[in-house]
């Protein structure tokens, strides 16, 4: 019963309180002099949103930074101990290395393939069908996609029936099955591949939309001037797409740094496949809140510059419109 009342209060009460705030506040503002009214009204309307953002985003952020310098019970300052732990422990160093691998290969292939596919499909008649096929993995939840690939990567002992699609294919050509997710030369590439598979469609769609906005006259002119298609892509299309590519690229870098679900479902970080986010989760799951906070701060600091670049790009695009 208590839960029901709490739920009702939350679902009906909170919007009602906001409504009350606006109605009662407007009553007050209406009675103020006109000059003050125009000055105060935007702040008054924005205040709830700013309040919520502060409570749910800014406060937790500051609290995380605070906790990362505290001991686990939050009773004493420990200086940089949690950060020292993060940068010296063998397992966390592996997770840093792997996040770097993700950042490089995931971003490069997702954006690169997205660009190439967008350009190639722009020139064929079955563009829509091909685009749908490549976009299909995007809406699949990462957990479901990982489970699909778990079956694809499945391993059975040599000599028995291979239930994993990849190993069945290898077996059909007479090869020995590969323990994709256990073998440390194949497991990180396999995980990154799943990531690329599930996001390339997204990159392609964004780049393709930008590609459509390039004026055909420019391309026609280049062709008349005798440029071949490779030169056109190299000297005209790519530079014109560059702002889009940076936005998609930085988004992919952020994605790569945040990678969690694919690794968690497929290997749980075993056999040296841990990334920063799975490491942070493990610290939380083992009640090392202060260490988890430190990992979170490191991750946040790594992402901030990219966010700044991204927001600048957006602003530039807004201005050019």
């Amino acid at each position: 019963m208590d839960q029901v009342i709490t739920a009702v209060v939350a679902v009906i009460g909170v919007p009602l309180v906001l409504l009350g705030y606006i109605v009662l506040g407007e009553r007050v503002i209406e009675r103020l002099p006109d000059t003050i009214q125009t000055w105060i009204r935007p702040y008054f309307w924005a205040l709830p949103a700013i309040g919520f953002a502060t409570i749910f985003m800014v406060y937790p952020l500051l609290r995380t930074v605070f906790l990362s310098f505290r001991n686990n019970a939050d009773t004493d300052w420990v200086g940089f101990n949690n950060y020292v732990y993060f940068f010296t422990f063998p397992d966390t160093l592996t997770s840093l290395r792997n996040s770097l691998l993700w950042l490089i290969f995931y971003t490069f292939f997702a954006v690169g393939l997205g660009l190439i596919i967008a350009i190639l499909l722009d020139r064929v008649r079955y563009e829509q069908v091909a685009k749908i096929a490549i976009f299909l993995p995007v809406p699949i939840s990462a957990v479901a996609a990982s489970i699909i690939w778990k079956f694809m990567f499945d391993y059975q002992p040599p000599g028995s029936v291979q239930t994993g699609t990849l190993n069945a294919a290898i077996g059909a050509f007479g090869g020995q099955p590969v323990a994709w997710l256990v073998n440390s030369t194949t497991n990180n590439p396999a995980l990154i591949f799943v990531g690329i598979w599930s996001i390339t469609g997204f990159c392609m769609v964004i780049i393709s939309a930008s590609l459509k906005s390039i004026s055909t006259e420019v391309l026609e002119a280049a062709r008349i001037d005798g440029a071949n298609e490779f030169r056109i892509v190299q000297l005209i299309v790519t530079p014109l797409l560059w702002p889009t590519i940076t936005v998609v690229g930085t988004t992919m870098i952020i994605n790569a740094l945040k990678t969690f679900d694919i690794v968690y479902v497929l290997t749980s970080g075993a056999y040296d496949t841990d990334v920063i986010a799975t490491n942070m989760f493990r610290q939380l799951a083992t009640s090392h809140y202060a260490r988890a906070a430190a990992v979170g701060v490191v991750l946040f600091l790594a992402i901030v510059p990219l966010l700044v670049v991204n927001i600048r790009r957006f602003q530039q695009q807004e201005e050019t419109r």
Partner: protein
Amino acid sequence: MTDVLAKLSSRAIAGGLGVLLLIACSSGGGTNNQTASSTDVTVWTAWGGNELAAFQKVLKPFHDQTGITVHLTTVRDANQLSINVDAGTSLPDIAPGPTVDKVKDWATKGTMKPVETALGSSFNDYITNTYPALTTVPSGGGDNLYIGIVGGKHYELMVKTQVKGLFWYNKKVFTGTAPKTFDELLAINPSQYGADKLFCVGLESGGASGWPASDQIDNIIMRQSGDKVYTDWIQGKVKFSSPQIKLGYQTYLKEVSAQNVYGGPNTVLSTAFQRAGKPLFAAKPGCLFLEQATFIPSFFLEDYPNLKAGVDFDFFGHPSVASQYDGNVNGFYDQFAMYNDTPAARKLMQYMATSPAQQIWADAGGTLTAIKTIKYNDPVFNRAAEVANSAKNLLVTAGDFMPSDMQAAFWKSLLNVTKNPSSLDSELAKLDQVQAAAYKTS
């Protein structure tokens, strides 16, 4: 929109807000009455699903016979009780005992009341009926915090138990006699019985991958180096690189060597523990034995629905490793402690210790009870009861009683050495490093 807003009277809105605030405040605090009740008893459990349903079945006749109402709450957070104890707020009358580190403190402070007090005249029956390993310190004296014995008094009433480290086999394939010692086990030639390898092992279990290997190595260490080394190791007083623990790892590696295990290490690491037993029953058996606890037959039946326990498959207990440590058995148990000494709480404790109550648990299936003489519908549990009865010392699963990051590192190390046995020394060194940090309380 502003018109609509303007029409709402500000007084009505203010009134509405006030009412909501009142409701919000009143729904916040719960009410708890603390009287020595003879009609009501509050019980906390961490059980859910089938285990909770079985417990409710156990409690029904109690209510019917005594008229006492049991207020049962499932509390999943194991820390909640200790939070209440520290805060001095109300405690349930009956709930499971705390984690091992708090047992002594809670017993001496009187937070938990002795089972002797709760059971009164029926205490001697309880000691006679219950598996000795659950109620007696093997050395004959001193405390055993794992089973809630402090200063000669019992603080945890045992109701259910399980045994682990059982070697399961296909009765149609392995027709020999159960090996007495671990060396005899390793000396069995699987091809003599038409099987490919000696053991099947599957360590894959999502985020908990490696735990089946930890059961295997626990069962070795407790029988190879004894319960003292074993419990000291759990408590972080014995290093992973110490000779005893290293020997345990080396012995475990014999069970998963390419020579002894079905499919080699890659198969061991890629196979889910639920599916590990499948090759036991294949037309050309992949292996002779699978080491696992009493729950595994349900997974045999998922793969081969027509199998009959006791007819098609059976098990033998873990063979002896060093004879002076025979009687050390790996298992776990469910227990209750009394936190408020009320007439109703005493009655419920007394009831749970009786055979009729525990028979209901036995009939619900999936577990051993704490009473030796209970009979089970499932032949597997009648056999498991023999193993439990042979135990002098029922030792908990090590990882479960280590700090959680120690447990995670321990499991991970078992995966790594299975994959690459030559990394043993470097893995043990890493574990020492984790151990040094994990047992500090901060």
